[in-house]
Structure formats: C-alpha cells, structure tokens
C-alpha cells in the first residue's frame, strides 16, 4: 500500500462525494445558484474550433501506460498484477508497432515509476515521435501538498531523463495551479464538455482541458474489476462491439467537426484481438478526409493559439 494518503479522482463515477452526516445538505435555492455560477465561471468553452490545415476532426490516440501500478496501489493479488505486467512486456510494443504501421502520432501518459520498470518502451515511444506526458508518479495524487509537488516534479524529471523532453501535459487530478507553475499546459482527465476547452482555478490559472470520456476508455469494457468494482458489477464487452461504439463516436464527431480522445491501456488494448480491432478502426478513420491524428500537445497548443487570438 502507498506510504502516504491519496486524494481521490474527482469523477462522479468514483462516488467521491458520498457523504455522511450533514455535509452538502442544501438549505436554500440560492446556495445552488451560487454553486452553479461558480462552477460555470471556471469553464471557458469555445463555440467552434477550426482545426489546422482545414482538417475536419482531431483524433488523439492516448495510451495510459500504468502496467501493474494501479493494481499495486489497490493491493491486488498476483494474477491481477500479472495482467498489468502484460502491458509492459507485450502490449505497449504492439501499440507502438500499430501506430508505426499507420504513421499516426499518439500521446503516452506515463507514470514516472514506469521509467524504472520499462525504460526501453518509454524511450521508444519518444523516438517514434509520440508525446510522452505525465500520468502521476505511481497513478495516485498524494493528499499532502508537498508530497504531491515532489511526485509531480519527480515524474517530470524521470520522463525528461528518459526521453529528453520535459512533459507539458498530464492525465491526472493534480492541482491545476501546481501544474501551471511547473509548466504544464493541459490536462486530459475530465469531460466537462465534449469540446476541448479551458478550465480556470480560483487563482485564475488556466489550463487546456482535453476531454476524455469513460465510454472511450478500453478499461470500461475489458477490465474485470475496473475501478475496484465487485464481481456482480462486471459486464465485459467483446472487441467487435467496442469497435462499433467507437466508430459511431468518431462518425458523430466527424460530422460536427469535433474531437475524439481514445484512452487505451497496453494491458487491455495490447491484446492481439484488440490490436486487430484498433487496426480496423484506424483504417476506417483514415478512409475519411481531413482527420487530424495528433498528439494532445498538438491540440493543446492549437487551442492556446486559437483561444488567445
């Protein structure tokens, strides 16, 4: 188990706001007005995004390279850890080969600790031209602010030492002010809107938010005990069904000139049948004109250019 307390991920699915006693009880409608207005003031949503080179849709293929780290955090048994190990010794290399075959760029969100477990794969991702970005030190955010800072800095140092490039993006629930102070431009963790947008903190710090929705997360379909859920909560899907769900999502976003951020884990998407499924999905996408296969950093920089003009 982790040696210091962690701050939970803010997603509603994680039920982090389950409360006991009187916390959060609404005493007047005005309170709701205040909360809703304050929440709205922290989000700046562009009406329409013009993609570079007259592209019609932006696609971010993202890879969360956790391997067994989250399984370790949850103190899971050996075969669960082994399932994560598959991602490091097999799956990540297959995803790299798939992207190479299709000549598409991706973003690898990498916990800093992975640089000690699978340094060759992290180096290869960077050498292949993919973005390597933060995914926390060991897939958690410490509750203590100073330890959180130490983890964020240590991860950036580890990624920079391994790839030669300092990360500018994250998939985490790290403190936005801290991320901004350390040079981060974007986070790709929440889905407050389906369009890339800007999120500001109370102190006025603004980060690009690249929406990532759980329905575009392979773990939702393929990972038994996802998010530490019990046996009776499992409904596993086959890769053909997920192919059609994601293909539908792509076509809808293509029609509206939007954005699709697919979240792939090497331990799930690196399985042979899913590489085969992703190969088919990418081939279908490439059959459309004006698809911008870009890194998250590309989209964030574009948003900052467009957002400030």
């Amino acid at each position: 188990m982790a040696t210091s307390a962690s701050r939970p991920s803010p997603h509603a699915q994680n039920a982090v706001h389950e409360t006991a006693g009187g916390e959060g009880i609404i005493k007047s409608p005005e309170q709701v007005v205040d909360v809703v207005e304050a929440h709205a003031s922290h989000h700046r949503i562009p009406d329409r995004i013009e993609w570079p080179d007259a592209n019609r849709v932006a696609v971010n293929l993202t890879v969360d390279f956790d391997a067994m780290l989250l399984r370790k955090l949850l103190d899971e048994p050996p075969m669960q850890l082994g399932k994560g190990e598959f991602g490091g010794r097999v799956g990540v290399w297959r995803l790299l080969e798939l992207f190479r075959r299709h000549n598409v760029s991706a973003t690898f969100f990498v916990p800093g600790r992975i640089c000690e477990l699978y340094p060759d794969a992290v180096r290869q991702a960077a050498a292949d031209g993919h973005e390597v970005a933060d995914h926390m030190w060991e897939h958690r955010v410490p509750a203590d602010y100073e330890i959180e800072r130490a983890h964020l800095v240590r991860t950036a140092d580890a990624l920079a030492a391994t790839t030669g490039i300092r990360p500018i993006g994250s998939r985490s629930w790290h403190d936005a002010d801290l991320m901004s102070e350390l040079g981060y431009l974007y986070n790709s963790h929440d889905a407050a809107d389906d369009r890339p947008h800007f999120v500001t903190t109370d102190s006025g710090t603004e980060l690009v938010s690249l929406p990532f929705h759980y329905t575009w997360d392979d773990a939702m379909y393929f990972n038994f005990a996802w998010l530490n859920t019990e046996n009776s909560a499992q409904r596993m899907a086959d890769s053909d069904r997920v192919l059609e769900l994601w293909w539908d999502a792509f076509q809808q976003q293509y029609k509206v000139g939007g954005y699709l951020n697919l979240c792939l884990h090497p331990e799930f998407s690196g399985r042979s049948l899913r590489i085969d499924m992703l190969d088919e999905l990418i081939r279908r996408m490439k059959s459309f004109d004006g698809v911008w296969f870009s890194t998250c950093a590309d989209v964030a920089r574009h948003m900052l250019g467009a957002g400030r003009s």
Partner: protein
C-alpha cells in the same frame, strides 16, 4: 527489494514473435483447457457443490456431448481436475487420457491458495499429486489455478509461495497465467533461482464469464460476444504465430444452444490446417526447446527507494 517483488514475475520483454516456431511447420498453437471443477467459492469445493443440477449436467450430459464434439473434430484438450475428484472419476480420467487428452491438477478442491498458510498449501499440493497419480497411473505434470465465477478478480489465485512449491514438487508447468499470450517463465526471484513455464490464460476467452454471468440479474447470456472474442483472437494470434487458448466448463459450454457455436468454431480451426493442437504439456515441452530457462534475461534493477511511494 521491489524489482521482482510483486511488480513483475518474468523478463521485461516477451519472447519475440518472429522467433516462435511450431512443430510440423504449423503457424500457431490452438490449446483448449477444460475445467472439470463444479462451481465453488474461493475456499474450494464442498460436498453440496457436487449436488447441484448444474454439477450433474456438467459431469454427465455435458461431458458426453463435449467429448463427442472434441472427438468429431479430433481436438485434444487439457482437463484441469481438482485432486479431490480423482477417486470418484478415475475411469473417466483414464479414458480421457486414452483419447489423447491430458489430465492436469487443479488444486485439491479448486481453492484459492492465497487463503492457506504455507504448510497447508504444500500438504494439499502433495495430496493432489498423489490422488491424481493413483487415478491416472502417473503423476500430473501441470498445475492449474483457474478463477471461480464468483471471484472478485478473474485471473485465478496464487499465493506468494505457489510457484516455488510447484517447482519443488516437480511440476513442469503452471497452466494459467495472465502475464503473456504465449508460454513464459514465472520466476520466483530476480536471481532466476527457480521458475516455471506458464501457459497463457485470459478471462475474455473463458466461457464462465460470458454465460449467465454474473450469477444473478437479467440479460446475462453473451455466447455471441464470447464467440466474437474467440474468433478475433484466433485470427490475430494465427497471424502472429502465437498461442490461442480457450477455457471452457462442461456445465456451461456444453448446453446445446451454446455448444453448436463451439462445434462450428472447432470445425473451422481444424479445417484450416495451420493450427498445431497440443496439450498444455506438449506445448510447454516444445517451448522449452525454443527458450530454455537459462536464456531468460532479466534487466538490471534501477529501482530508487522513496519514503513517499510504493516500494
């Protein structure tokens, strides 16, 4: 030391696809695991687990039609059998081996060994080896620890000492591992002082997690999804020249409305002509010629200790 201590159990990079070859110039290996344990909890089989209608179906009508189907297509399988069942089913187990199948151990009562202390785990392992040995006329060579349908995790249970005990008791292979989709070594430590060749297992190819699963609810039958998983994995692993494994249970897959799909799939596999269809022991014996344990290379440890981290 964290390096191999519950982070990784094998080498950091899988054995390369292009180095894999199969006997008879076959392209890939098709392996089938048949779990004979009636449904039970993590503590393992109790008497009442043999008294359910599902258990009766599995060991009677289910076994009959499943064996007929395997025979029709000349498919060979590895049967994972809890030691406690050996005496009751000794003639059946011997006849399975006479048909070319392999019978392997599946715990004493299909228990999760992580619930046992080391002495109890070793005593049950020895008892299982003996009881199956008496039923078969030879000791079992493989050891399975497959998941139960009520488990929180769908990989199967191992204790921290299981692999070392299997090596000590002369087992040649571990029948189910989530670490790779080809045979691989599960090592006891970073010095490679011991390790056991392990066969791939993945719950997306195991019937019990798709057929009336989870145990209670509505709309829980997904034979169609299971078949789609099998067929896409078959195609992908054939292209890579690796191993396909399906794990099935007679009380589940052998119901006629499901079995016809499995029957069709087996027919397609065998008609294709490019699959090698070994038992688990044959598959691991071949793998040992491709990759002896001495050839497994472990990366140098570069772990840094931090007080504020997992270690």
């Amino acid at each position: 030391m964290p390096w191999k201590n519950r982070y990784t159990v094998s080498d950091e990079r899988c054995f390369a696809d292009e180095q894999v070859t199969w006997p008879g110039v076959k392209k890939a290996a098709f392996t089938l695991t048949i779990d004979l344990s009636p449904t039970c909890r993590a503590e393992g089989l109790r008497l009442h687990d043999f008294q359910t209608p599902e258990a009766f179906y599995g060991m009677n009508r289910g076994m009959d039609v499943l064996r007929q189907t395997l025979g029709k297509h000349a498919v060979r399988a590895t049967f994972a059998v809890p030691g406690v069942m050996a005496e009751a089913y000794a003639p059946l187990l011997r006849s399975l081996e006479s048909e070319g199948h392999e019978v392997a151990a599946h715990g004493w009562v299909h228990e999760d060994p992580s619930l046992l202390d080391e002495n109890e785990e070793e005593a049950r392992l020895a008892r299982t080896t003996d009881s199956l040995g008496q039923a078969l006329g030879h000791r079992p060579w493989g050891w399975f620890s497959l998941p139960r349908p009520s488990d929180k995790y769908a990989g199967g249970g191992l204790s921290d000492q299981t692999v070392a005990l299997l090596v000590k008791h002369g087992y040649e292979y571990l029948g189910n591992s989530t670490v790779d989709d080809r045979p691989h070594y599960w090592l006891t430590d970073a010095q490679k002082s011991a390790g056991i060749l392990s066969m791939p297992y993945y719950y997306h190819f195991d019937d019990q997690f798709f057929l009336l699963f989870p145990a209670r609810g509505t709309g829980l039958e997904h034979m169609d999804a299971l078949e789609r998983n099998w067929r896409r994995e078959l195609r992908a692993q054939q292209n890579r020249g690796l191993v396909f494994n399906a794990t099935v249970h007679p009380h589940a897959i052998a119901w006629p409305h499901r079995l016809w799909r499995f029957d069709t799939l087996l027919a397609d596999v065998m008609r294709d002509g490019t699959w090698w269809n070994p038992t688990a022991r044959e598959c691991t014996a071949h793998w040992r010629t491709l990759q002896p344990l001495e050839d497994v290379s472990i990366s140098e440890e570069i772990w840094t200790h931090y007080e504020d981290s997992l270690n």
